[in-house]
Symmetry: C2
Subunit: 186 residues, 2 copies
């Protein structure tokens, strides 16, 4: 199973403010910029994945957006939410996500058995867990042009050396930047 990351951070590497807020992400950057149809690679990325695994906090942020069916960005691909504490998703995500509390490699095995080939891994703790299991193969990180100064970091403690290669880099009219890497484990 290919496992990849497509996530946004502040320029100082936070995915949320200390209380989990992500409003800054939507107000950051040059709001007057003409972005045309530029979606910073999101649709192309979505076309490359067929299932999704995210953490509980990530799910709760998505739930808080109260997205309409038209706004739902993840199509109808299966979404597994990792949590050892919560057994049922928030009401507005009941038909959208499935909670999972077991072993991550078993979940990957189950998804592979069901024919899935490429998983979108989302949420800081979940991404760090997957890196520590040497499961993430590719990362696309979009940086908003803002310093938060504190918050929830994208990466937590990593247990082994991780080197990145095949770097790509882009800048957008709104002053967001984006890097893409393949991930290697020693």
């Amino acid at each position: 199973m290919k496992c990849s990351v497509y996530i946004a951070t502040s320029a100082d590497g936070y995915i949320a403010t200390p209380d989990g807020g992500v409003d800054w992400l939507h107000s950051a950057g040059n709001q007057q910029a003409d972005m045309g149809n530029e979606d910073m690679g999101f649709q192309a990325y979505m076309a490359s994945v067929d299932c999704m695994i995210m953490g509980r906090k990530c799910m709760e942020i998505i739930a808080s957006f109260h997205l309409t069916a038209e706004q739902w960005p993840y199509g109808d691909m299966p979404i597994y939410v990792l949590s050892n504490t919560i057994k049922t998703p928030p009401e507005n995500l009941v038909s959208k996500v499935e909670m999972y509390s077991g072993d991550i490699n078993e979940l990957i095995g189950k998804l592979e058995g069901d024919g899935y080939k490429s998983a979108y891994i989302d949420g800081g703790s979940t991404i760090t867990s997957f890196i520590n299991l040497k499961l993430i193969n590719e990362m696309t990180i979009t940086q908003a042009p803002i310093l938060l100064g504190e918050g929830l970091p994208l990466f937590g403690k990593i247990n082994h050396p991780v080197t990145l290669q095949d770097a790509q880099s882009r800048v957008f009219a709104n002053d967001f930047t984006q890097v893409k890497y393949k991930v290697n484990y020693l």
Copy 2:
């Protein structure tokens, strides 16, 4: 006085390992890449500054390199090292740097009085202090393609919102990436 930053971090935003080590920076990336004369903008940046202010830890790392006169990268521009604890520099930097323990704005005023116009600010704590004084105008951050997982972060706690604009982005053959921003304070 224009104050700017030219610094390298890991892809997860650390400038050094927890013990201050920067060896990873020299071994990171594709060592087989043909970089030609590519210096990732360092000489052009050096030509844009005429004085330097760095933190004590930064100075100690530079001292530990035991650079020869030919290897010394900072020309003959004046270098002030901020420290409230150390009054004399390491022996091999005595003729190269001057220690300073006073107010940062007074130091800037003194340098301006001496005719200096563009300061290179170096070291994580020093950069954060300068941002909190709203003194940094421009930042060039080069990211090495490696995750350290822990270490000394480039940015510490920032006391006020900082937005970035005029983003530029580059990628190099060795898989290092670089962003450059102008810095705004609200």
